[in-house]
């Protein structure tokens, strides 16, 4: 798992690559939180198109970051991910909270 960031205007996009599970969740949270805490954006996009695997631990990672972003009044979106990841997201009901782009 690794994450890269891109700031375009006031929109910050986090590109998450590889496998997001219990093993990589700690590193993912740390990397995302560091950038989120620096602020300087008013929109935040989770781009999951490079994810090859994610389970419910990943849902916890996304929701935890969403709460922090909400506290900063940022608009948060998920860029439509590959079908397997999308199924996990749909099953968890996360799209009721974080909208698809």
């Amino acid at each position: 798992m690794n994450i890269s960031f891109e700031l375009s205007g006031k929109i910050l996009t986090a590109f998450i690559f590889g496998e997001l599970d219990e093993c990589s969740a700690g590193a993912a949270k740390a990397a995302l939180d560091e950038v989120i805490s620096k602020r300087g954006f008013n929109g935040f996009i989770f781009n999951l198109s490079g994810l090859t695997f994610m389970d419910s631990t990943g849902i916890g990672v996304l929701l935890g970051r969403y709460k922090k972003l909400l506290a900063q009044n940022a608009a948060v979106y998920i860029d439509p991910p590959p079908p397997a990841i999308d199924k996990v997201l749909r099953t968890s009901g996360i799209y009721n909270v974080i909208k698809k782009l």
């Binding site: 990672v61 397997a84 199924k87």
Partner: protein
Amino acid sequence: MKNYIKLRLPAISENESYARSAVSALALPLSPTVEELNDIKTSVSEAVTNCVVHAYPGRGELTSREILIEAELSENEISITVTDFGVGINDVEKAMEPFFTTRPADERSGMGFTIMKSFMDIVEVKSKKDEGTTIKMIKRIGARNA
């Protein structure tokens, strides 16, 4: 003879990727769709994550926190059991409810069993206090064409 695997390994998160890959690879001769393969992978990952996170609180020694993964093929299904020998689940019915987690502070979604139940055809949980937990899952392959 039908093919099978038995894996005994420490319940640590580093083994999750290996466990889900091994079980899903066993299913390949049944010609699963990409979606069916991912359903198996994700469900095994959920079951193993539960063992890693919940089964052995405070036990650091790897040999004292093992899981046993057994998977077996039949003509049109794969049957998988994930067993730990840990503390057990207090209330299985409660544990299977969506969003239920004993560890909300860890940002856990509580969706593990919900995903297993919706991705697999059969999910059964047996648990006994201080003896451990077994999750049995069956996935029918090619069910749509049957």
